[in-house]
Symmetry: C2
Subunit: 242 residues, 2 copies
Amino acid sequence: MAKELPGFRPLYAQVAELLTERIGSGRWKPGAPLPSEFRLADELKVSQGTVRKALDEMASKNLLVRRQGRGTFVAQHSAQTAHFRFFPLVDEAGVKEMPTSTVLAQKTGRAERQEAEALGLPPRAPVHRILRLRRLAGRTVVVERITLSAALFDGLALPIGTEMLEELYVVYEQQFGVTVARADEQLRAVPASAEDARHLGLAAGTPLLEVRRIARDLYGAPLELRIDRCDTSRHCYVNSLD
Amino acid sequence: MAKELPGFRPLYAQVAELLTERIGSGRWKPGAPLPSEFRLADELKVSQGTVRKALDEMASKNLLVRRQGRGTFVAQHSAQTAHFRFFPLVDEAGVKEMPTSTVLAQKTGRAERQEAEALGLPPRAPVHRILRLRRLAGRTVVVERITLSAALFDGLALPIGTEMLEELYVVYEQQFGVTVARADEQLRAVPASAEDARHLGLAAGTPLLEVRRIARDLYGAPLELRIDRCDTSRHCYVNSLD
DNA sequence: CAGTGGTCTAGACCACACA
DNA sequence: GTGTGGTCTAGACCACTGC
């Protein structure tokens, strides 16, 4: 069964790739159960052990959720999971709180050079821009500026001025069928602009933590550019190396 | 062979734990080869597949390095590996450069409350404190303050004022037999103190990225408290989520 | 060449979830 | 009970390394 030509990939990796494509193509939607290991093995003409290794690999990348006795399911963002995976701010005691979010503005325009590069779009492609504030324990802690391809997120209309309960990544998944699987971030310390300072109730020039994030889909293609400016006087960004 | 009592752990996890203890106890030193899978399986009275799963798990945690045709080796810090695993600063093009380091001072004193807590030491335990500058592309970019247990790092004597070629984690491993396996970091934006500003050639109050790191050994016990203040005008801290 | 880890297969039994 | 994933075992063959 295994082809051992030079440069070839292991069977389980090919199986994982095939299954990932089925998820990406929408054949299996988020939350849906996959066929059992034995059914997949029969269908793909490989052993159950090989399917298992592929599924384990995909589960370790948070693409699948496996539950003993129940089955294997396509991973699905929820307010909870998106929060714990993609919101690294904690309070001084190290506790992750659920933030509240309010969209101040959503506008459509043409991508600046930097935005187009980050999102892999042609110059001046149409984009949505979102300005959002996020609060923790009643304090506004983050000023967030988001840029999205207007072609990919066609018809996006966020409620302005009222508290959003849903995580944005849940909206992307449920309304536009795109899944955020990974994000790359660059962090810097910057002085608060006059606008940042007004939103955060601080003096202009106060040091803020700037987090520049590119969120990516299953294949690593960029979906969202997000620039957060965070007041780290009472919260901090946490990270573990290895 | 497998005991299936409630709450018990899989055999391969027990094997991994046993092997981790052998490494931690110094029975197998960094860089040394482990016995082959079959020898370990014979010795431990489990199958080769179970040993393999334990070894794979440990390799995925960077505890071991496996090389086809050669064997399995205890992971070893080198200037290269320590740099790529534990130095998240890159330049504007996203390139990781090798930093140069100069120790300005090394003193011994008694732990402050915060230091003792971070390192899991009794109040006022003796500690080494190190002040170090790190340069990238000829610019001083990081002012680094390190606190270590003087009991654990007994006899530490770093060269003052001259450029250090070795990574500190290599020194810990080779001179003191302790391995940094993991690190937890907290990031904040802070204004440069007068001293920071002098070292970095900036104005006091300039926003700096403060990285507060606790480096831990194989078992998660804290080894080192390190507080870096970074000039992020030409470099940034990078991180990937999932 | 012999020895190592890497892959693939097959079968057994266990723990868990749900009807 | 039935079906699921989780663990353990055993054996085969491959690819890589170094003698």
